[in-house]
Amino acid sequence: MSRLVKKSPSVCTDLPLDNADICNKLRLMRELLGSCYGPTGRLKQIHNNIGGRVVTTSSSSVLLPAIASSEPFVNLIRTSILHHVRRFGDCGLFAAIFCLSLVEQAKQSGLRAKAVIRSNEHLASLCTDYLKQGGCGCKVKLDLCSGRDLVALARSVVSSKPACVLTEPECVHISRLAVRAFLLTVPCDTPGSVSLGQTVRVSVEGLPVTHSAVVPGLLVDTAEDVYLSQPCSLPHPLVLFSASLAGDLSELGDGLIEVHPRVDSDSQVLSQLLELGNQVVRDGVKVFVCQKVIHPVLQLYLTSHGVTVVERLGVTLMEPLIQLTGAQPVATLHSAVQPTAYGQVGGLSVRRFGSKTMLHLQACGESAICTIILCHRNETMLNELKVTCQKAEHVLRLALREPSALRGGGCTETHLAAYSKSEVPALGRGCSQTEYLRAAEAFCRSLESVARSLEHDGGTSTIDPTHAHRWTRPSDVATERRGVGAGCCGCGSLDGRETWTSAEFPPADLLRDASVQPGVLDSFTAKLNALQVAVETANLALDVRYVIRDVN
């Protein structure tokens, strides 16, 4: 018996930005993300309503996927920021806060959406052009020949994640490791187009942070009593299987198989496996690696013939291992292994980190694969540390493409705001001068509000008119001013002794003292893109007229 249920009509929301509920949700999201921003940001505990695992974090890459909203309009903004984070790894919170406050400011200003969109577009292109210029006041050239700049860049990323709970020396140690790992992934003397290698992260819980280390080559989990083949002849030939060697018929997939009761499929597959093992041993292979499970009989056969066996490698380690050894993964056990599929391993040893026993595979010659072992006292902090290191690596890679950085600590934002204010309005179509000026004011306020979001302890943020940098005055007078002398600005390149004089743009040239490097650096590429993403997303959000939802 069938029953027809009438389809309920779609729900249409007119002008979503005029909807109080949506506005509240946007404000909540801005507060939520804004309170996570920066080195003194607050943490969020994420768990599900039935009491799942608790994740404590303040990084956008963990937070954004978790805060899915019931409102498609909010999700539109969230996903667009999330895409930026996946692509560039950094400045996700910046993009989110900037975008949300652009929307909020535009709403408050009461201007026509079209006018705001046009001015925002203009201002964004003004800012990006300015940032790309050589003489930009908030850009710093990175010296890739010295490690100092790279460490400073990595440190800004590491220190901006308070959930790692790192002390100062630990923070420096991790930053150095991140840079060392990054340098190991840059191939030394490859002619032609260079492709970067890979860093594999291994985490060990319970050891002090200072035990973290970087090793060239790969570390793979292995059994306690792994058999090591004798180091008689280096390099060792290696074979890598991506097919399961468990001896089952899993390759056949679903569906019904009809077999004769006398047929023992298990033993037939096993004999196939042993034949494979036989061939591999004849070919002189010393290391046998499988992404999945290896049948214990085959394992015993191989070890008794002096082969080191690694099973359950996992899909994430396949690519790095292929790069390291030059092996071609074998995807079937039903044909003989091609001689070209074999790879080579330069060194083989067992290393122990805390409770973990790992097999250390080294490359034959140069290789751009390295492993970073991250240690921390508890799992929550370790997880955040892993995310942070990944972010640092991403930022360092971006710096290779464009060797510059932006002043961190909110100084770039305030500087850009000052710059945008000073520019003569270029009148465009459909936007009057007054409208442009008011939209520009909202734009600058949004930029400044991002800078202000760095302060979480109730201190006041000020902008000096001379250099347009950001300064904070702590709320409790107890705060020892950080840095040298009587405090310094957000990025750490100016100290309080400077006198503030002019209020004109371009702000006083900082380049006269080139030796003063800012202490806090942001990734240039990531921030530039974040700026564009934020403005484009905000413009799109402002342009949405109807939200139509199918509620069936």
Binding site: K25, L28, L32, S35, T40, R42, L43, K44, Q45, I46, H47, N48, N49, T56, L63, A66, I67, A68, S69, S70, E71, P162, A163, V165, T167, G206, E224, S244, A246, G247, D248, L249, L252, D254, L256, I257, E258, V259, H260, P261, R262, S265, V293, H295, P296, L300, R312, R377, N378, E379, T380, D457, G459, P474, S475, D476, V477, A478, T479, E480
Partner: protein
């Protein structure tokens, strides 16, 4: 859908929760523990717990902060097996300190930086007040002082210098005086090397000082250590390899029967015991199986194809079932290899056990897999997954079994505890823990492991800390001094300029609160020792502190505190019987406690995903 609840205000709920959780273990901190019943109202089940770790584990805190607390404690317990109470109590005390700071309007950033500073002070104090393990060991064994001791003397000044710096009165330093005595001892001058002496010098004595009220368990641990070190004659650098120590709990026997044996101990059923009697004390051929001994068992990762259907043109006469076929094959393998003993990590099917018994083959199920690996290694065997894989070179020899005790029970209960030993140098030892009270076994096992880990870490660190509150006292002293210094410096500055920041004042305040947390800890331990009430304990502690401030007495005097509290029995003990703590355990527990406080302190909101239902009014929905 997603909800978000704001935690943070001046009344930080998260910190209050940590503090509340910490209160649950207050009465179980310290060496004198009382048993507690934890009852589940919904299921009516109850459990008898003793240690702080078991309390918090059995309470199963469900809130987000509770989970974080549990995770931290579990991580600590996994590595150290002791110090969970210290971790929890301090986390609670420092959470209250942080709350107090928030009330006074000190910013979160500053609380964190000042508290980390305080932690650095404490860790420095720990580093400086360490005592070399050898020094303690010497006090125990003045007579037989083998080579290891001479090395101690060359190294000793280093240790004592730490002591002097920390205490400024070397004359009274116990280890110094003892050492002097040792030097003058004529035994020492006449010492010949007692290499046949199995005990590593003084370890048992030092272990006694680490027992923290579990003398019985520590005695077992020392026995285990001595059995193990008999095998490796590494006297200079003795190590206690706890990965080669197993436990076997046996209900129904008096606690006095607890002992330590070589190899591993397994419980056997009635019919197996008769086989065991027939083959005992002989050198046996043995096979090792990783996995179950049933015909359906397949190794881990093997997927059965979902849709296999047997088809045939005519019905096949099913004379014997698959299981019988398999059974026949397996027994044939065993018989052809002439094995007498089979150890498996998994289960075996009943019919196989029966058949094996008939053929005088002893099949032991559920052997701990590290133990299996160690015995296999020492007997030169290779563990395999399927019995059909067995061949001559997979089989080991030289394993012996001894009937440890006949439990002579009926029904399905195990009938005997059998000791499987290789007699060889693997160093695998098993502690048999017995008790008449079933519910107590868990606590006794925990105690054993706590003691084992303490000895292990003491030998690994090679240094110890004066215990019974002495180190904490020293830390409190240093924290309070630093707090005073900051407040004073700030007062001076304020007088001069009238605009001096309150930085020093705040810093002093935070350090003072941290010290108060430690005072709370010592007081709790003293109260739990049972002789003082809370008020009295507080008075005693503060009097001690005042004395300490006045004339900077040596750290040693403090250790009397908890001993005093332990009652009259300890009063007439020799001064050598003092209490010591592990350096690494204490440092890690403190640091983890502070980590926990920092994580919670910095958290201002809880994001709950998947809240579909209405009714949670205090949540903001996104």
């Amino acid at each position: 859908m997603l909800g978000s609840a704001v935690l943070n205000s001046r009344q930080h709920i998260g910190l209050q929760r940590v503090s509340a959780l910490a209160e649950t273990v207050r009465s179980s901190v310290g060496p004198n523990k009382k048993y507690k019943f934890i009852q589940d109202d919904t299921s009516g089940e109850s459990v008898l717990v003793c240690s702080c770790f078991r309390i918090i584990e059995s309470l199963e805190p469900t809130c987000a902060v509770g989970q974080l607390v549990l995770e931290t404690v579990q991580a600590h317990h996994k590595v150290y097996r002791s110090g969970s109470g210290c971790l929890l109590l301090l986390a609670g005390a420092w959470s209250r300190a942080a709350l107090d700071c928030l009330h006074r309007g000190i910013s979160v950033t500053n609380i964190i930086s000042f508290m980390s500073e305080g932690m650095d002070i404490c860790l420095d104090v720990c580093k400086e007040s360490t005592v070399l393990f050898e020094d303690l060991a010497v006090t125990g064994r003045r007579t037989a002082a083998p080579r290891g001791v001479e090395k101690t003397f060359t190294e000793a000044p280093q240790g004592s210098r730490h002591m002097q710096r920390a205490t400024k009165s070397d004359d009274m330093t116990p280890n110094m005086s003892v050492r002097r005595k040792t030097k003058l001892s004529r035994h020492f001058c006449e010492t010949t090397l007692h290499l046949d002496e199995p005990d590593v010098p003084g370890v048992s004595h030092a272990a006694e000082m680490l027992s923290h009220g579990c003398e019985g368990s520590m005695k077992l641990v020392v026995e285990a250590f001595q059995l193990q070190s008999k095998k490796n004659q590494e006297l200079r650098n003795p190590m206690f390899d706890i990965s080669k120590v197993m436990t076997c709990v046996l209900p129904g026997l008096p606690e006095g029967r607890a002992c330590v044996l070589h190899g591993c101990v397994v419980l056997l059923s009635h019919e197996q015991v008769s086989v065991a009697h027939q083959i005992k004390e002989r050198r046996l051929k043995v096979a090792f199986i990783n996995g179950d001994l049933t015909h359906t068992y397949r190794h881990l990762g093997f997927k059965k194809p979902p849709g296999v259907q047997p088809v045939s043109e005519r019905s096949v006469p099913s004379g014997s079932s698959k299981e019988d076929e398999w059974l026949e094959k397996v027994v044939e393998v065993f018989l052809s290899l002439e094995v007498n003993l089979i150890l498996t990590t998994g289960l075996a099917c009943e019919s196989l056990i029966q058949t094996c018994c008939r053929h005088r083959i002893l099949l032991v199920e559920r052997v701990n897999s590290p133990a299996l690996r160690l015995i296999a290694n020492s007997s030169g065997a290779l563990p395999v997954t399927y019995p059909t894989q067995l061949s001559e070179h997979c089989v080991g020899t030289g394993v012996q079994i001894f009937i440890w005790t006949d439990l002579s029970s009926y029904g399905r209960k195990p009938a005997a505890a059998v000791n499987i030993s290789t007699g060889g140098g693997v160093g695998l030892v098993t502690a048999v823990i017995t008790s008449c009270v079933d519910g107590k076994l868990q606590a006794l096992e925990d105690q054993f492991w706590a003691c084992a880990h303490r000895l292990h870490h003491a030998l690994k660190d090679r240094v110890l800390l004066p215990g019974a509150g002495a180190t904490e006292m020293l830390c409190i002293h240093h924290l309070q001094k630093a707090a005073e210094r900051h407040s004073q410096a700030d007062a001076d500055r304020a007088q001069e300029t009238k605009t001096g920041t309150a930085a020093g004042l705040h810093r002093g305040h935070v350090l003072q609160l941290m010290a108060d947390g430690l005072i709370d800890y010592i007081t709790t331990v003293t109260v739990n020792a049972g002789r003082f009430s809370a008020v009295e304990a507080r008075t005693v502690v503060s009097r001690q502190l005042q004395n300490f401030h006045r004339d900077q007495i040596m750290a040693g005097k403090f250790s009397q505190l908890a001993l005093e509290a332990e009652g009259d029995a300890s009063a007439d003990k020799t001064p050598a019987a003092r209490i010591y703590d592990n350096l690494s355990v204490k440092q890690e527990a403190w640091r983890k406690a502070l980590d926990l406080v920092f994580l919670v302190l910095q958290t201002d909101a809880e994001v709950i995903t998947g809240t579909g239902r209405k009714g949670e009014d205090n949540l903001m929905l996104l």
